[in-house]
Amino acid sequence: MKSKYLEDLSILLDDYQMDAFEKQDIISDYSEMYDAWVDKGLYEEEVEKKLGHPRSIIKDLTEGHRKVERPLPGSEKVIALSPFVATIIFLILGFGFDLWHPGWMIFLIIPVIAIIMSMGKTKEDHLTTALSPFGATVIFLLLGFMFDLWHPGWMIFLIIPVLGIWNSRYTMRKIDLLTALSPFVAVIAYTILGFNGYWVEGWVVFMIIPMFGILNYPNKKVMLLWELLLIGGVAGYLYIGLYLDSTWQYAWLAFIPFALFSLYKSDWNIDGDIPNGYRIVIASSLLAFLAVGFFFHAWVISWLFFLAIPVYAITTEVGNKEKLVALSPFIALVIFMLVGYFFNLWHLSWIAFLIIPMTAIIKNT
């Protein structure tokens, strides 16, 4: 509806330091364009698609304008008091109920309160993105301490990137949203399948990543053939492994048609040649993954070699100032997996993820 559309746009514009005249001018222009499209015979949904969802256009409309910082009233006092309140509660839990552990977790409310009070009246999606690391940490610790579910409890941390992507959905096409979410969905699905004993069969869930990626291919006939080859590969892999006397070591042969077609179409989505550095890193990662997997049966950690690809991309293409922050999630993930796998210290290795916010704070202050 037009009034709702303009109201949503106006609310988003209010978050930026823009004079009232300019805001009103923008609203007036959109009102005029809205009416013009309707006069042309379009339905309101079609008009709003043409004009763009307010959240997807707000960034371009407010280019050069700073966001208004609008903390909640009395926020500074609440933030300042929160460490003392947390300490009091901790001492009550400790002395009163001998709950020193897990009572210490109460100190996590300090950053949570600071985020809520500072972000104040901001749009709900950014708030959930900012709070997700703390929520995930609390849930992970509760699962671990109370139910000894360090694994697969660690999967709760996947909510952080998933929420970040979900909250950016208005700036993405639907297919891009699904493609971005697919790796995380695959990891969760594979872990659940593995937990139920399906490690060998279950890894095919990762094929949803290229499945969504292929949907971007412009030629629809080629795209359809490509998808069919991939689905055929998955079906063939499962059939050979499950029904032909557990011949899993040959089941991967079912992916040969897909792999050959992919090599043939290797210019997909690439503007020009892949630099040699990337070719070497991709090939080396694949070889290392297969070698460690086959010779040491360490598939649980051998996939870490694929992280060399984004790490290489970051080291070559990201500026020096941002490099460390960009690399920190990968460093944390590697430490987490290696410490957990080799020393069985999953309940401690998660601490490695604290490198991420610490690096961001050091870089920004």
């Binding site: 007036s28 222009d29 005029e32 013009a36 004009l51 763009g52 371009d60």
Partner: protein
Amino acid sequence: MNSQFKRGIIEMCVLKMISREDMYGFQLIDTISQEVEVNENTVYPILRRLTKQGLFNTYTKSMSIGAPRKYYSLTDEGALKLNEYESEWRKFLDGVYRILGGNEDEK
């Protein structure tokens, strides 16, 4: 096509179209989208930004039917910018055509 590259081309198209005749927002977006594959919702922010940069003036024109419309007209600065864009674009295209037609020329 790279989005930054496309944005630059759309800017040039917007300047060119308004240089030919004053237009109102919807008219510009509708006309451009018929000629060029572009996401309509990207055109207005470009139009707005160029106006803020002083490349367009705006004025309101009363209509016999319906609400008054805001028209955009090209300023002198806008005309200079358009010349600059056109000159760069033609040089760029000349280079591309030389490369594409280069093998035949060498024979």
